[in-house]
């Protein structure tokens, strides 16, 4: 990988990490309502995807995707702060505060919105892909799904239909080892989700999702395959989430140590960059610039007004008004 490409991805990973850590702090202080799931530890998966998906493509983010949402918003429209504002429930958010952490969308940057009913868009993604196929557009429609989400029946309906119609779907399965408390191997017939996908007969691949170089290459190959009209692609990105469950850490200490201290995607990228001659000072400059940016975004969110109450019943229907109180 070229040094500049890796530097760009490194920058993106720091944007994601700074975003999530800033958000986590604000959440703990009670400034962010609702629930919080972070993508900490999984930055490479999101940076790799964002690098290859254009604004005219489509991705359905999952509940740990604030990072890719913000990245897409920042890259394509220069207003990543509107993802932060959405999480604060403010009028300036991408959905005017109606969606929040689990329903942030902006189709103009390719973000078709999360579903808090985990993975419902495994079915929806088919339609976006079918429309692209019928219109002859070279669009990639990507569903980002957790390992636990794969337990839903829609997973199989979706892979089957994508296969029979050769749809341009990228399944990006972020296997972080657990669904809340359920270890992946206990919840599925195989701890390698790729084993469940292979039967549908299209291209499948498994990579170390914390290795940004490998993940970036794999997403690139998958996107090229789909754009070439070769049909769907299943990519399993093996990673690990820093966040335990709401009550705290439940995983074995040596596992936590391995993933946080030895297999952290940013530390792994640090090593590669070091070998390319990018020294610690240069890397720290990237980190602090992103942290400063995120503080600005948080400040923007905090000073943004809450939504107008008239919005509470707006946009229920296109063709009808719904009465307010």
């Amino acid at each position: 990988m070229e040094r500049d490409t890796l530097l760009g991805l490194y920058d993106d990973m720091w944007l994601i990490r700074a975003f999530e850590q800033g958000l986590e702090r604000e959440f703990e202080q009670g400034n962010v309502p609702g629930m919080l799931h972070t993508g900490l530890g999984q930055e490479a998966t999101q940076a790799a995807l964002a690098a290859h998906l254009d604004a005219t493509d489509c991705f359905f983010p999952d509940h740990r995707c604030h990072g890719i949402n913000a990245l897409a918003q920042h890259r394509h429209r220069g207003d990543g702060e509107r993802i932060m504002a959405e999480l604060f429930g403010r009028s300036t958010g991408v959905c005017g505060g109606k969606g929040g952490s689990l329903h942030s969308a902006d189709p103009t940057v390719g973000n078709y919105g999360d579903n808090a009913v985990e993975g419902s868009y495994m079915a929806t993604v088919l339609g976006v892909a079918l429309a692209a196929q019928l219109r002859g557009e070279p669009k990639v429609a990507c569903a980002i799904i957790g390992d636990g989400t794969v337990g839903r029946g829609e997973f199989h309906e979706s892979l089957n239909m994508a296969a029979i119609w050769k749809l341009p779907v990228l399944y990006a399965c972020v296997n972080n080892g657990y669904a809340i408390s359920m270890p992946v191997g206990d919840g599925h017939a195989s701890a390698d989700i790729i084993d469940l996908a292979k039967g549908y007969g299209f291209e499948c691949r498994q990579v170390d999702g914390n290795d940004i170089v490998e993940s970036h290459r794999a997403v690139g190959d998958a996107v090229a395959h789909i754009r070439a009209g070769e049909g769907p692609y299943f990519l399993e990105l093996k990673t690990w989430r820093w966040q335990g469950i709401f009550a705290g850490e439940f995983r074995p200490a040596e596992e936590v140590k391995y993933w946080r201290e030895e297999h952290d995607p940013i530390l792994m990228a640090d090593e590669v960059l070091e070998s390319m001659g990018v020294d610690a000072a240069a890397r720290e400059a990237i980190e602090s610039a992103q942290r400063a940016r995120i503080e600005e975004w948080i400040a923007f969110a905090k000073k943004s007004p809450p939504p107008d109450l008239a919005k509470a019943t707006a946009d229920v229907y296109v063709g009808w008004e719904v009465a307010g109180r």
């Binding site: 489509c58 991408v94 959905c95 005017g96 109606k98 969606g99 329903h103 969308a105 902006d106 189709p107 078709y112 919105g113 579903n115 009913v117 419902s120 868009y121 495994m122 079915a123 929806t124 993604v125 088919l126 339609g127 976006v128 892909a129 079918l130 429309a131 692209a132 019928l134 429609a141 029946g153 829609e154 309906e157 979706s158 089957n160 239909m161 029979i164 919005k311 707006a314 946009d315 229920v316 229907y317 296109v318 063709g319 009808w320 719904v322």
Partner: protein
């Protein structure tokens, strides 16, 4: 105008829609060469091809999901879910996606899709092929529920549904497929969200949907001989429904019966009755009467099914009871 069956009227509407809207396609199980379980899509596959009249495996969630995804990028999909009883399989896609995405994403998306489905009992279909499901969706803001009672409305309402930018659940009562009636030729739409006074009367209002409309009209005919004048309101759209037409009629007659085929608890009859009581209380000479199914699943055996479902005699009886009741 020509005399046409309900099925053919629907088929004509789909044909006209496919002709007019290049972004429209049909999707469902066995709707292609076979023309659908109830022949509603007959000949359309041959005319428009397999891309636009698309057969699928038994994957209801994926069928509706495909519609939602295609609709948000500007297509106009029309799904056929073979039997309404199967809507549980795609309930999440309808309720949590189609109905909510315009709202939860702050108007950035619309979901102009139609889900056609065959509902209702009376043919020995048993517990999983006979249900009236409007109550499953009545509590869902964002969905439009359309329920025609005759061939002309079937055509006009289906074309209006196809052209609507809101997601529509289009209920086709199986007992009506063979009903015949005068249907205007060519393209026309019947506005969604509008009820119609199917028969004018002065003594009592019957608000009915789908198959119950014919029963209400027959009851009105029968009672006319006794000097009782029954007004029949065909609701046509169940959600959002035309409260004005209903309330205006009840304010005029002072008495009302609501008739639908679903079980009583938590259904359309409950909503209409509550609304009429709230808004026409001072006009009412008697409590609102209700005709609906007994509170049980729909059994297979013909006499048992007959016992569960509302019959013409129940409509007549409810009208008489409501006319005799005093405050």
């Amino acid at each position: 105008m020509s005399r046409t069956s309900f099925t053919k009227a629907l088929n004509d509407a789909l044909d006209i829609g496919l002709e007019r809207f290049p972004e429209m396609f049909l999707i469902g199980e066995d709707i292609g060469e076979m023309g659908g379980d109830f022949a509603v899509t007959r000949d359309l596959w041959a005319k428009y091809g397999a891309d636009r009249v698309r057969d699928t495996p038994l994957s209801e969630a994926a069928i509706v999901g495909t519609c939602v995804g295609a609709a948000v990028v500007g297509m106009r999909p029309v799904a056929e879910i073979m039997f309404a009883d199967f809507l549980g399989e795609c309930y999440d896609q309808i309720v949590n996606n189609a109905a909510k995405l315009h709202y939860m994403f702050d108007g950035q998306f619309t979901a102009p899709l139609v889900i056609r489905t065959a509902c209702g009992g009376g043919f020995g279909g048993g517990p999983h092929h006979s249900q009236s499901v409007e109550g499953w969706f009545l509590n869902v803001p964002g969905i439009v529920i359309v329920a025609p009672s005759n061939p002309a409305d079937a055509k006009g309402l289906l074309l209006a549904s196809i052209e609507s930018d809101d997601p529509v659940l289009f209920l086709e009562h199986k007992a009506l497929y063979r009903a015949r009636g005068e249907v205007p030729e060519g393209h026309f739409t019947t506005p969604l969200g509008t009820a119609v006074v199917a028969r004018e009367g002065t003594d009592i209002t019957v608000v009915a949907t789908m198959r119950m409309v014919a029963m209400a009209l027959a009851a009105a005919e029968e009672l006319e001989a006794e000097g009782i004048s029954v007004e029949v309101v065909d609701l046509r759209t169940i959600r959002p429904y035309d409260a004005d037409t209903v309330l205006r009629s009840v304010a005029k007659t002072g008495r009302a019966v609501v008739a639908n085929e679903a079980p009583r608890i938590g259904g359309l009859g409950a909503e209409l009755s509550a609304r009429i009581h709230e808004e026409c209380f001072s006009d009412l000479a008697a409590p609102v009467g209700r005709v609906d199914a007994l509170d049980a699943p729909i059994p297979f055996s013909v006499p048992l099914e007959h016992e569960i479902l509302p019959q013409p005699a129940h409509v007549t009886a409810a009208i008489r009871t409501t006319l005799e009741a005093v405050r």
